[in-house]
């Protein structure tokens, strides 16, 4: 269970001029430390200009984030609090942008889902949490709508995060947006 607390975060090491990435050192279970990088970059899709992807992980030999490796964090709460605080900082200067977290990997989807549910009260002071399901149209022939390759024609549909959904019914994709300023 991940608990977010913006008052308990790691210190930043480097921050890009446009706040598109940040690095910080996280402490490992063996007492060592490793440099993690958080990047918020636009999707490679010109049709969704205000949807950005958040990625984090240690830096590989190629200088890019290796988000597939499992890091033995001593304090995973502090690590994720640092990541989400950075996302908040990014969104405060990019208010029109929505950050997306791909839940296509079961482990990641569970992580994101539990993070949003566990920290519902805390995060709702800052963000609008959104869940996205994939839907397919049922045709009158009782077949489903298909692509030219005869695969189901899935269409993503966003909704306000349903906190009553059980963890076994996770969303396909997770998003969060800065809470609009209240009047």
């Amino acid at each position: 269970m991940i608990t977010i607390n913006f008052d308990d975060t790691f210190e930043p090491v480097e921050v890009a001029g446009d706040i598109s990435y940040m690095t910080f050192n996280t402490i490992l279970k063996d007492g060592g430390q490793t440099l993690l990088k958080i990047e918020i970059t636009p999707l490679v899709d010109p049709l969704l200009p205000n949807v950005y992807n958040l990625c984090f992980g240690p830096i590989g030999d190629d200088g890019e984030i290796n988000d597939a490796v499992s890091v033995p964090h001593l304090d995973i709460n502090k690590t994720f609090s640092t990541i989400i605080l950075f996302a908040l900082t990014f969104l405060k200067i990019n208010r029109r942008i929505t950050i997306g977290l791909d839940g296509s990997n079961e482990t990641r989807a569970y992580l994101y889902h539990r993070m949003f549910v566990t920290n519902r009260a805390y995060l709702s002071d800052y963000f609008v949490a959104i869940g996205v399901d994939w839907y397919v149209k049922l045709l009158r022939t009782l077949d489903i709508e298909r692509t030219a390759e005869n695969k189901p024609f899935f269409k993503p549909k966003p909704e306000l995060f349903d906190y009553d959904r059980p963890a076994r019914d996770m969303y396909r994709y997770y998003m969060f947006h800065l809470l609009p300023e209240q009047e």
Partner: protein
Amino acid sequence: MCYICVMKRSIQNKIEQIQSLAKSQHLSSAGSSVRSTSVNDSLAEAIRNEKDATLFMAELDAVIKIAASK
């Protein structure tokens, strides 16, 4: 009540620290590299054309507006 007005000073300080580092370090953007995770993003793959994108963004904006009205 404006949510920014009630954000804890300690958290606002942390945000300002990040912003200050960004200004002082003069590091270039991350946006120049095409990330494999962004290329394989399932939402980007599901949006096939402008019609899909327009509908999705309209629904997303509506969801955000609903949240703002609560």
